[in-house]
């Protein structure tokens, strides 16, 4: 491990030295995300799916749509659940087993960013109030790790949902059973396209979309999700250092500007 630690140390020093001159280790501008490539429909058996590459981070996402019972007290809306998992082949340090706090935070932040934006109008997913609703289950699997899983999983989720074909279900009130109407599909009820933008803070420099090298030496982290109207719909700060109030405002502006560009890519990928 010693030699790898020395290389890590050298890399960290390099990153810090470059940032002082406003440069990044991979040549990007401070507010420039990595190249984003999206393929949808990669899992034909799933109702929606996408493979997303954000730099060298890769995520495969699949959507399953199934009838379900609504949550208690939420009988007037469908179910929408977004998960994330780092597959053990994505990273030498990943281990099979129950998710740690990092992965739980990842899944919850991705889920919340999309949910709080109201992207999918869950009220249109009710088959029978309080009895039966449509559930949309979005599972993200990270297959290659190069930092910033928050945005990669968020984009994969959004693209999968945009590309999703919603089967038609029929509720039979005589016996409470639900059946699928073969061959009938519709687009999901989309209201907006949320875009997550994650920024790292190294020293006092804010960088957009940190790669794995930057991720491992950053002091703080903030993920801001914006909707199509340019409003902010979710924020999550992480990392062992704080942000000044001014930096928080700066980050919100970056997230709106960068979000708008990425929203165009997502729209195109989703075919809408």
């Amino acid at each position: 491990m010693t030699s790898s630690t020395i290389i890590d140390d050298l890399k960290k020093k390099k990153i810090l030295a470059l940032l002082k001159e406003g440069q990044r280790i991979d040549g990007r501008a401070l507010d420039e995300p990595r190249q984003l490539t999206i393929d949808t429909g990669v899992i034909p058996k799933a109702e929606g799916s996408a493979r997303v590459r954000l730099g060298d981070t890769e995520v495969v996402c699949g959507v399953k749509v199934q009838p379900d019972k609504p949550f208690p007290d939420l009988g007037d809306r469908g179910i929408f659940i977004c998960t994330a998992e780092i597959l053990p082949l994505a990273d030498p340090s990943a281990e099979p087993g129950p998710p740690g706090e990092e992965v739980i935070e990842l899944a919850r932040v991705v889920d919340r960013g999309i949910r709080e934006s109201g992207m999918v109008d869950l009220k249109q997913l009710v088959l029978e109030k309080d009895k039966s609703v449509v559930g949309i289950f979005i599972d993200n699997s990270v297959t290659d790790y190069d930092g910033n899983l928050f945005d990669a999983c968020s984009y994969a989720s959004v693209a999968s949902v945009l590309s999703c074909k919603l089967p038609k279900f029929k509720y039979d009130s005589s016996n409470g059973s639900v059946s699928k109407v073969e061959g009938e599909f519709s687009a999901p009820p989309i209201t907006t396209i949320p875009v997550s933008v994650t920024m790292g803070k190294i020293g006092d420099t804010i960088i957009v979309d940190p790669n794995a090298d930057e991720w491992s030496c950053m002091d703080g982290r903030i993920t801001i999700t914006t909707n199509a109207a340019g409003n902010i719909c979710a924020v999550q700060k992480g990392g062992h250092d704080g942000f000044t109030p001014e930096q928080l405002v700066q980050c919100s502006k970056i997230s709106i500007a960068t979000g708008a560009k990425i929203r165009d890519i997502l729209k195109q990928a989703g075919g809408s």
């Binding site: 706090e101 739980i104 899944a107 902010i232 999550q236 992480g238 405002v249």
Partner: protein
Amino acid sequence: MGVKKTDIVLLDENGIRCDGRKINEPRRIMIKAGVLKNANGSAYIEFGENKILAGVFGPRDVHPKHLANTDRGILRCRYHMQPFSVGERKNPAPSRREIEISKVIKEALEPALMLENFPRTVVDVFIEILQADGGSRCAALDAAAVALADAGIPMRDMVSACAAGKVADTIVLDINNEEDQEGQADMPVAYMPNLGKVTLIQLDGVLTPQEYEKCVNTALEGCKLVYEVQKKALQEKFFGDDAK
């Protein structure tokens, strides 16, 4: 009787909120330091209807040892809800929500602690929600920071937390349970008041860029109010009633 939840008036024409508070008025906050005998430091907070106990152990040896860090002490944090703390009995096993909150609280406290002084050790912060209300993660943080100070852990600054949010299209301080359920946005914030750094910020709900900025600033005003209560609690613990 017959009044449905959604009929609650969150903000009336006089700018008065559903629990009688003004827009910039926090709920009642009471903190007591040093309430436990076994813990190295502890605090009890009542923040609105929140009732929360925090206990700190450490710096102490790390078990299992391979988790120890040779450069600095590590901080562990557990935010845990009692089964009876909420309306419907809660399963005592930690939920994914509790695990996430534990993590953000840990990261909100870490910048304030001089853990570099205690390599190979761990500081454990245990937070027990006895009764939950809106804003429990901020109240938990406030108690935990006082418990850390009570335990004598060297700190760069206090950490003071308070939420702001959007209710009836208005930015208000310190969201309560009803406002959290029925309101438009909730933004918990933790702040190191002397270093001027935000160590926790989350947001659920939609804000315009202007509202976002106002919401942050409103929450920071709340953090400063909390800070005074935290200081008072520690003074009372260490200097007795004379400090009042």
